[in-house]
Symmetry: C2
Subunit: 514 residues, 2 copies
């Protein structure tokens, strides 16, 4: 067995049975091993940002890593932006990057690059395999590193001769380390804050936003009056009717400052103390008042669910008492298609158990509020602020959850970064309904231009902030990649198209012209 | 004047008057300054790989840098693959990357990343401006660094507060350092090799492949019998009827070994000693025989044109005696459309003074041979081996040379990486005719699979090496971005479509189904 096969067998033994790939010459032995060894689902992406974004979406839904297969430094480079998002989502990813043969590196052939240098800013663990005999053990450690709490990007660099050289065999599954329990004094500090009588919030993210932990948090809120908040962007939130609803800290700084102004205690569960997404002249970076104490109940790598259980115990809060979101569906909208009617249509039609991948940015500011009472569903956001995330994340989620409907809500600007994901959806027959919110602008930048005090945009500014001249035609783009698509310019047309997409078993795209 | 404006004025003073942009919030003051200060042409790309590839293509044709404008670490990351190609092309690029305000960085907001870490593998010069007062001087130094021989990527990181803070003014143009003359003993060593009577080749790249230097090299060949060779991939070659023709070292290792087998001396002019693009089991990395001496006449950063002139003087070779390529046009092809008939059509129709951006890979193996006698033109290749290069390079070249026809020859696999370049061509009305060689496969990998000894591809291997199921429809993709397009499945249809593209003043795309 060669090194490549020892790695594939090690990945499978470690529970990594999906590989999102965009291979090249130096990866051909790994590709051959993927075919020879049964058990690995191989999903081709036509651009590496699709590959890494798929791995992120897969991990968010499967709670385990997929592998990627990337081609040397430039292939990894193309995947870095979505690895940045994956790192911020704390998604476990086993990133495999082919390299020149060890003895070939010193000749500085054209594709030679500093792969470890590219990998470092996004990877918690990096290793370049030294020889074929080391590949399996390196792969096993990559899995352990990826699964290390809170979830990490592990990058294994595989020189071509370590793939084709002779290896001794696969390495069996190693047990990843679990999440550490929180310390008693962290719980005591939170209890004291909650009993202080001063205004208090619990700010959560990560696994704390799953249904069960939210119910515990809801009971704590019921017992103490504490406000439950989620980070602005979260990898995955379980929400909808019958679950405990949670409010996110708003993205606009002034709204966030207003929401947080009155609190004297903020208890962090996996979250960081809230800071502005960007700096703005004359506005603070920290969003909490100076007299607000920050308490860490659980760090991102700790056992958030256990911490909330413990806190509820201390407070005598019974999860059965948590106030649950009542079901509520608006009627279908009619008339003009705009962000409000679009939100109403989503709320009216979102199917039970849907997975929403949301990069709707400005058009979607109201989507979460509108769908609060929709049937239970998962909601995934762009965690690292790098646009071009949701199309591949939706694609990877559909691979992880073939029995669930995935709905991708995307701004037109961001969707252009990784539109190649649509082809992968068609190739794999993935059940994703994509809504492109086509406002034909980087609309968020039109707001931000004013927010940073840059004055009124001139003609050349507008050229850089608008996507028109020519307008993108998303129906043509989708069809060009084998995805059926339609355009909607009224609420009625959108209702029909969205219902059609939801009823179809494969990918479907709607250009919602706003 | 704020820091951003001081930078824009400094760039203009330094002769940098084109900015390829994909901005975000942290770049809004720079965007505002671009509008306020007249003189900078701003070209929006809808993905950063387009932006950086455009800057590469622009530099190859304009012989001076454009600036880019990218959004924090992930924005730079998306542009790295084409910066890798630009680095290998030795293209001068002034890369401007916005960052969070200096005081905001420590809060680790979602988009925070190690920008210098991302930049290092591709940049010869990196600086993060410390304050608004430093920005102009940093920008002036970035231009000098970009223009330092042989041409480099200079990355200037601009924290938002250094853009919006008060600055004192622009910095006038600084004189970049010129290319050093070669040493007399390097010339003497080459003369000795050429007079040794042993088989000898001159291997060239970079500025040595411009018309005037090629004529000098041709005269040297005429006088001495030396063989003239070019690297496998070159940033820009001036070729066609009336110029000195040059043969490239082939990409396939066996062919390269065969070509180089007989030489006892190889004289390098800007080139590196030839090595295999990839390593293959049982095949050498170095392509020259063990008994072949390598002589460096001119390093990449030295004055290649002057070195060739000097060598010609020593040898009494008169550039007027150089044998020039005779004009030759084949008739238009008919019948099946395949790589040969496609090559014939290109040779029959390529207009005088065309700029060819070539990423045709397998389909195009014969394109250069076929067009050797076409009217004089420039030919640009993928220098760093990272695919997704030629569409943006063609776009940037069209910005640099608005009076010349640009022809982009592209494999379908590679074109998917940066297809967003088509929208920029439409937005700017650029005169680019794109030919997509649609073999619906990563055809090169189908060859490489066998070359690396991975056996016969199985079903899952083929899934990763073929682009079908579904086929990409390039006509739809192009129209979706506002570029008129047509599909050709016969030689006659291609002839007509190519002639139509060449006759139209704006962008046009032909899907050549092979």
């Amino acid at each position: 067995m060669n090194g490549a096969e020892s790695l594939v067998r090690t990945l499978l033994a470690g529970g990594v049975d999906v590989c999102f790939t965009n291979p090249g010459t130096s990866e051909m032995h790994f590709v051959a091993a993927l075919d020879r060894v049964p058990g690995m689902r191989c999903v081709l992406g036509l651009f590496e940002g699709v590959v890494t974004g798929c791995a992120d979406g897969y991990a968010r839904m499967a709670d385990k890593p997929a592998s990627t297969l990337l081609h040397l430094g430039p292939g990894l480079a193309n995947g870095l932006a979505n690895l940045h998002n994956a790192r911020r989502a704390r998604s476990p990813v086993v990133n495999i990057v082919g390299d020149h043969a060890t003895y070939h590196h010193r000749y500085d052939a054209p594709l030679t690059a500093d792969i470890e240098g590219f990998a470092k800013p996004v990877s918690a663990w990096i290793r370049t395999s030294a020889d074929a005999g080391s590949v399996a053990a390196d792969g096993a450690q990559a899995i352990v590193a990826a699964l290390a709490p809170p979830g990490q990007v592990a990058t294994l660099i595989l020189p071509a001769d370590t793939a084709w050289g002779e290896a001794s065999g696969a390495i069996p599954r190693a047990n990843p380390s679990g999440r550490d329990a929180v310390a008693a004094d962290a719980v005591a500090e939170s209890v004291a804050a909650l009993r202080s009588g001063a205004p208090c919030a619990i700010l959560m993210t990560g696994p704390a936003l799953r249904e069960k932990s939210l119910a515990v948090a809801g009971a704590i809120a019921q017992a103490t009056g504490v406000r439950l908040l989620a980070q602005t962007s979260n990898a995955r939130t379980q929400r909808g009717a019958g679950r405990v609803a949670i409010t996110r800290v708003p993205y606009p700084v002034d709204q966030a400052l207003a929401m947080l102004a009155g609190f004297r205690h903020i208890i962090l569960v996996g979250a960081k103390a809230p800071v502005a997404f960007f700096a703005y002249p004359g506005k603070p970076s920290r969003l909490t008042p100076d007299d607000c104490a920050i308490h860490v109940l659980a760090r991102p790598d700790q056992d958030m669910a256990g911490a909330l259980d413990w806190l509820a115990d201390e407070l005598g809060a019974d999860p059965a008492t948590a106030p649950l979101q009542a079901p509520s569906r608006p009627p279908l909208p009619s008339g003009a298609l705009d962000p409000d009617s679009l939100a109403q249509a989503l709320a009216a039609l979102l199917p039970e158990n849907a997975i929403v991948a949301d990069e709707s940015i400005t058009a979607g500011r109201n989507f979460q509020a509108a769908t609060a009472g929709a049937p239970p569903h998962d909601w995934m956001q762009v965690t690292g602020g790098s646009i071009g995330c949701a199309l591949p994340v939706a694609t990877g989620a559909a691979v992880a959850c073939p029995d669930r409907k995935v709905v991708c809500l995307h701004g037109d600007g961001g969707a252009m970064y990784t539109l190649q994901a649509l082809w992968t959806q068609a190739r794999e027959g993935l059940d994703v309904t994509t809504v492109i919110c086509a406002n034909r602008a980087y609309a968020i930048l039109q707001h931000e231009f004013a927010n940073v005090g840059a004055g009124a945009p001139g003609r050349r500014d507008r050229d850089m902030l608008e996507l028109g001249r020519p307008d993108l035609d998303w129906v043509s783009l989708a069809r060009g990649m084998g995805v059926p698509a339609t355009k909607a310019t009224t609420a009625e047309a959108f209702n029909d198209a969205f219902a059609r997409g939801l009823a179809s078993p494969g990918p479907y795209l709607i250009e919602a012209v706003l």
